[in-house]
Structure formats: structure tokens, C-alpha cells
Symmetry: C2
Subunit: 443 residues, 2 copies
């Protein structure tokens, strides 16, 4: 089915056929079609869907389409959709909505659900609590395998996953875990107690979502249980939500590495005002860092006036220091984020970096010496190539050390962004270059 086909059927008011053809599509694809339609037709198409499909499609919709539909819907219709949503999708949705809408929805919920929603809305962003859902399969250890399978069969349609099941006692204390695979393999009359795994990998509600992602990756899990401080089961987090977390974490790091603040919306939705706010602070800080490069130059004004040809190589040399520094900072930041290296490895990596940056510096010195020779003969060739080797060595070392230093002080290593490393390497570059030149020319 294509968008044009949908528009064609809408134009012809052939709603029966439209409904039939739509229901052939995956719910994620139906959501994509609705995202492309305007406010009026999107609601029209949405209303064609049966209630259970509508809820799933709603969970896949883009935030703007959701609010469009919400704003035009009757209260009762809205409640029907919300009732069908999995709990984590409902919470995500409520988090996006303005406070007055949330109030309206809460007013119409049962008291038990209202309490639960409020509890979930209060888990800080980025915690396991804010990601989890409550639709899980819980079993009792006295059950037999066939009783367990019978229960799973009964509740399956309303559970986010049935592939991992949780054994709890009367107080919801988490006693064991069973995969559906374990249950399928076991013989029907076995008691769950004898086959459940008691060594449980779990997280607590306030654990950071990055930590959750690390566990799911490490142990190849489909879902992980979330417990409170007394090890009572409160929810689960499934791998599909973690895939999004992993991608969001990378995006956050990538943005931070370009000195951009945290952006949690699509680029197309972000207003110019919002983007300016996220970009300006670091740019201003860097202006002030760069003043020190200027002061470095001012120190050597005499040298510069004597050999004005030196300015020709200024951008080239300071950029090279910055580029080499960005490279080493980036390698370290990413390896730290992936857990490939730890803070304690800094010395070993520094030794390697010295070898690498010496090789880089010498190669680049050879390249720049040729340019130096053409512009100013042997003298300039010597000064520029010596400077190049030195600034690349120093720039790389700064780039390597900065992320480790930040980590050491419990700051995010990704703050050692390309622009920051470049600016700091520039200061070092200016001073090294003009010092070598002053010494060589005896000024």
C-alpha cells in the first residue's frame, strides 16, 4: 500500500476497502502513513482502525500526530485508546502532553491507576523506573509447568513479553526467573520451583538507563526485571526499548562531542530558539578560551612583525594540532563509553599515543617542510617542520588526557569535544610555534 493509494481511497470515500487494505499493513507502517497525512484526514484514517490495532498504531505515531489526534478526539474515544496502550507507552505519552491534558486524563482514571501513573511519572528521566512497563507474566513457585503454561496462554494477549516469566511470592518478592524456552522444554508436571533460575540479573528503579542497556547487551537478554529497594518486582524493561536507549546515548555523545547541549527532539521539530540555546553556551565559552591564543600571539608580536611570513602557517599549524587532538580525544571518549577501556588504562594508552603522534607529527612535518621551503626557503622549512612535529605531539597528548581527566573528576568525558580540544591545542600550538621561530631567528 502507498500513501497515494490511501489518498485515492479517501477521495473516493471507499472506507471499507481502505480499512481492509490498511489492516494488511504492519502497525508501524500504518503509523507512518498517518504521520504523513494532515490533521483532518489523519483522524479519519485513525478512526477506521479497530480499538486494539488503534492503540498499537498510536504507540508508533510521531508526537505531533499524537497530539493532533488527541486534540480532535472525544474524551471517551481518548480513553478507549489509552486503556489499550501498554503501560510504558501510556507513560511516555503522558510525559509528552501538557499538564492540563494529563490532569484531564488522570481525573478520569480509577484511583488505583491514578496512583500508579503518578508513581511512574515521578521516576526521574534516564532511570530504569522511567522506562519500565508493568505488563509482565508473574508465576508462583508452587505451580507446575502445565499450570504455568495455562496461565501464560490466558494472559499472553495483554503482556508486553511472555518470553521471560517471573516467579514472585505473596509480597511480590522476586524469587526466580523462567524463560518460555525453559517452560517449553520442561516436562508438564515439574514444579516451577525446581526449574526456575534463582541467580537473577535485575536492576533497581533508580538505576541509570545506560546501566540497564549494558546488562541487556552483556547477557543478551530479551527483558530485565526492575525491583525496588526490597527486591520486590515492580516492572520489566524489554530489549526493544533498550535499542532506542543505545541509540539515544550515542546521539547524546555525538552532540556533546560537537559542543552541543542535550537535544531530545527530532531536528525538524526543534525551534530555532531551542537550537540557539543548545549551541550558544559552549560557543561563548570557546570564544573566551580562544582569547588565550590571541594573548599567545600578542606575546610574540615582535617576532611576527620581523618575519610576517610566519602568519601564513598559523592556521595550518594550529589546526593540525587541533585535528590530531580531536582524533585522540574521540578515540578515548568512544572507547570509554563502550567500556573497552577504563580510567586506569590511561598510562598504557598515553605511551601508545606518544608513539602514534610522533609518527603522525613526523609525517606531517615532512609535508609542511616542502610548503615552507617554497614560501621562505630553508629557514622557514626548518621552523615550520619542527613546529609541526611538536604541535601534533602536544595536541594529541592533550586530546588523550582531557577525557581521562574529566572522567577522573566524575564529569562526562564527551565534554572533551573536538571544539574544546581544538581550542586548547591552539593555545599550545601558538606558543610552541612562535617560541621555536623566535629561538631560531634569534629574536
Amino acid at each position: 500500500m502507498t500513501l497515494d493509494r490511501i489518498k485515492f481511497l479517501l477521495k473516493n470515500k471507499d472506507y471499507t476497502r481502505l480499512k481492509t487494505e490498511l489492516l494488511q499493513e504492519h502497525q508501524a507502517d500504518i503509523a507512518e502513513f498517518i504521520n504523513e497525512l494532515d490533521a483532518k484526514t489523519s483522524l479519519m484514517v485513525f478512526r477506521l482502525l479497530p480499538k486494539d490495532v488503534a492503540a498499537n498504531v498510536f504507540a508508533y505515531l510521531a508526537p505531533e500526530s499524537r497530539s493532533q489526534i488527541l486534540l480532535q478526539s472525544e474524551e471517551t474515544e481518548l480513553h478507549e485508546i489509552l486503556d489499550e496502550l501498554f503501560f510504558d507507552d501510556k507513560i511516555d505519552f503522558l510525559e509528552e502532553m501538557p499538564a492540563n491534558v494529563v490532569k484531564r486524563i488522570l481525573r478520569n482514571s480509577s484511583e488505583a491507576e491514578r496512583k500508579l501513573i503518578n508513581l511512574f511519572l515521578n521516576y526521574p528521566e534516564n532511570t530504569a523506573g522511567s522506562l519500565m512497563t508493568i505488563e509482565l507474566v508473574d508465576l508462583k513457585k508452587e505451580m507446575t509447568v502445565s499450570e504455568a503454561l495455562e496461565k501464560i496462554r490466558r494472559v499472553a494477549p495483554n503482556r508486553e513479553t511472555i518470553y521471560t516469566c517471573y516467579v514472585t511470592d505473596a509480597t511480590r518478592y522476586l524469587e526466580g526467573i523462567l524463560s518460555l524456552r525453559d517452560l517449553v522444554i520442561a516436562s508438564p508436571e515439574q514444579k516451577l520451583e525446581t526449574i526456575m533460575r534463582k541467580k537473577i540479573i535485575s536492576v533497581s528503579t533508580l538505576d541509570d538507563k545506560e546501566y540497564v542497556a549494558d546488562l541487556i547487551k552483556k547477557y543478551d537478554l530479551i527483558a530485565i526485571p526492575v525491583t525496588d529497594t526490597e527486591n520486590r518486582l515492580v516492572g520489566i524493561i524489554t530489549v526493544d526499548d533498550i535499542v532506542d536507549v543505545i541509540e539515544d546515548e550515542s546521539t547524546e555523545d555525538i552532540h556533546k562531542m560537537a559542543s552541543i547541549g542535550e537535544i531530545d527532539v527530532d531536528l525538524q521539530e526543534a525551534s530555532p530558539m531551542f537550537l540557539t540555546k543548545k549551541r550558544l553556551p559552549w560557543l561563548l565559552i570557546l570564544v573566551f578560551v580562544n582569547i588565550f591564543s590571541g594573548l599567545g600571539i600578542a606575546l610574540f608580536e615582535e617576532t611576527l612583525q620581523t618575519v610576517i611570513a610566519l602568519v601564513f602557517f598559523l592556521p595550518l599549524l594550529i589546526d593540525s594540532a587541533g585535528n590530531a587532538g580531536s582524533q585522540s580525544a574521540t578515540l578515548i571518549i568512544r572507547a570509554l563509553a563502550l567500556g573497552e577501556i577504563k580510567i586506569d588504562d590511561w598510562l598504557e594508552l598515553l605511551k601508545k599515543e606518544l608513539v602514534v603522534s610522533l609518527a603522525l607529527g613526523l609525517s606531517m612535518a615532512a609535508a609542511v617542510s616542502a610548503v615552507g621551503f617554497v614560501r621562505g626557503g630553508l629557514d622557514l622549512a626548518i621552523v615550520t617542520s619542527l613546529s609541526m612535529a611538536a604541535v601534533v605531539l602536544v595536541g594529541s597528548t592533550i586530546g588523550l588526557c582531557l577525557p581521562f581527566l574529566l572522567s577522573k573528576f566524575q564529569l562526562d568525558p564527551a565534554t572533551a569535544s573536538g571544539p574544546l580540544v581544538t581550542s586548547i591545542a591552539d593555545i599550545a600550538g601558538v606558543i610552541i610555534y612562535f617560541s621555536i621561530a623566535s629561538w631560531y631567528y634569534g629574536i
Copy 2:
């Protein structure tokens, strides 16, 4: 269990206890312990494990530990491990090993397996074929639900996943898909034909792994079938392998954005030689790009000699242009990678960028005018602030356009790295700054 405990038990030769305690741990954790041990003890601990556990632990081991164990093992022992591995892990392992080891292993395999291994080793890197495994549950459409469950029960221990099952005909043509959830909910006497889903989301062996990741993310799948050109089922890819793909893709982009070549090993394993090779090419290219900044300066040598104070602001202005440009390039590159925007959106985003960069430029101009006033009075304040506004505007625009241009020419937009954008923005910055100064001072 801790590493110290293991060493303690090894020292006391208490292997029975060591084995018992080890087997309490998750296989991923056992592998981590073995990674930390030296060559001799790692083999000793590995040999304590029962065959089926050993194979899973082996799959979790770091490449160095694997080769350590491999080099010290008897041929028969090695085969026992390899036989227990899931097929995708075996292929991964063979891809890491030197050619002579692979030959030795192939020589000792059955002809059918040898053919299969060779086939899999020949799928190009980054394709679906290179990621897939063959241990899947295949069913026939004539089966009843209870027959299907019986088969699943029988084969479950040797299948990578049993949560998605595949219905094929005698020629392995893929006719339908069933989740274990569907089977559990259905009544036992139903024929698979009546409940299987015929609208199948699949990939072909040569599809790019990024495309596979996109589908798994979009449809929240646990596994996706891989088919050949005639839609015959050849394997499946599970979500846990895709989690790694997503992370690898981000790493590749992050490295590329810092002008680093593709690095497919851990930072700690990479040799200095290897790292130099990955970092040098772009650094050298950028040296030559930066020569144009030098040429820009040479054009204005007269201006510079007249007002030498202008050099003070050179790093500051060109860095600001580069930083603003890096920000906009990074935003665009990441949004393109995530599919948030498409090439056709460039005009809309350019318009927004002009607003944002004007706001950024004016704010930064205000900051620099204060510094300009202190260093050189009103004249310098005017020249530097005008230049700042202009270079930020131009730098941002370059940063925004470059990734789109690269995409347009089928190149990877991430090549528009911070360093490259900075170098290009520098050239523009030098020319804009000195042009404004020359004009203002009437030189």
C-alpha cells in the same frame, strides 16, 4: 564470585569447588574472568567447564583469550568446542582466525559443513549474510499447533531462538511466520496454515546490515528471516546481534566525524602502526586544505602589517567559524543517520540554520566586541564584531550544506567531519575577516 577467589582456589588446587562456584555464574561473567587470567590458567579454568557451557563461554570470550585457548588446545578438544557453538558464532570465530587455522578446522569438518562454512565466509562483511545463523525452528503449514509445539520442545536446546518460527515448504520457500506467542495462544488442533502470518518482513543475504538494524528497530522484532533471491529461507538474524550492529555503526560514524578511518578492533588491541595508518591520511589532506587559509592571509599581508593587532583575533574568529560549522554539520549528519531527515529537507533546514546562526553570530559578536574594544578601541571593536557575525553565519552554512552535498553525491555524510568543516570554515573566515578589516581601514 571474584577474580581473587578464583586465583585463591587455583592456588589451593581446589578444582571441584572452583568448578561448582564458577557454574553459579552467568556465562558472560565466566568469560570475563577468563579474559583476566594469563594464558596457562585461562586454559586450566576453561577445561573445568562442561562442554555445552564451554561453548557458550567461548562465544563470549575476547578474541585474544580465544586464540590463547585455541593455540594450546588439542585438535579434538577444539572440535568439541566448535561443534557446540551456534553457527553464527562459529563463523565469527573463523573470520578472526589466521588462514592456516581455518584450513585445519575445515579439513576436519564434514563435507556438508565445510560447504556451508565456505558459503558463509564468503558473504561480504556488513551484509545480512555475514550476520545470520542457521539454527532456526522451521515448521510445515500442514502441522497442527500441538505438533508444532512438540517439535519446538524437541529442538529448542539447539536453536538460537524459538520465539519466532518459520513455515517453509519442501523447497525451503518461506511461506509464513509464527511467534511462539501466537502458538501458545492458539488452540492445539488448529493448523499452522490458518494462523501463520503471511505478510513477512524479511531481508536478503546481500542486504546491508544497517538496513537489517533499521527493520528490527522499526518493527520491534526479536528475529528477522534472511532469504535468498528466490525467497528461500537461509537463516535468521536475532536482535542481540543487531544491538552490536547499531553500536558499531555509531562508532564508525563518530570516528569518521573526527577524521579517523574505520577501526574494527578494540582500542587497546590496536597497534600504533595500525592507528597511525587510520589517522594520517585525513590529517595530511587537511594540511593541504589549510594551505588555502595561509594563501588567504598572504593576500592581505599589507593589511596585517599595517594593523598587526588584527592577528590577535585570528585564532578566535576562525575557530568560532569552525565550531559553529562543526555543530551544524554534526546535527545534520546524525539526523541523516537516524533517518530523522532526508536530503530533500535541506532547504527547510537551511532556512532554520540561517535564523539560528544569525542569533549565534550576533551574540558572539557582542562578546568579541568587548574584547576588541579593550585591545584596540572602537575601531577594532567594530571590525571584530562585524567579522564574528559574518564568519559564524558562513561557517554554520558550510557545516549545514556539506553533509547534504556529500549525500547527494552518494558519499557518506559523516565525511563532513568537524576537522574538515573547520578547515573549510577557516579559509572563509580568513578572507571575510581581512576583507572587512581592509575595507574598514581603507587599506
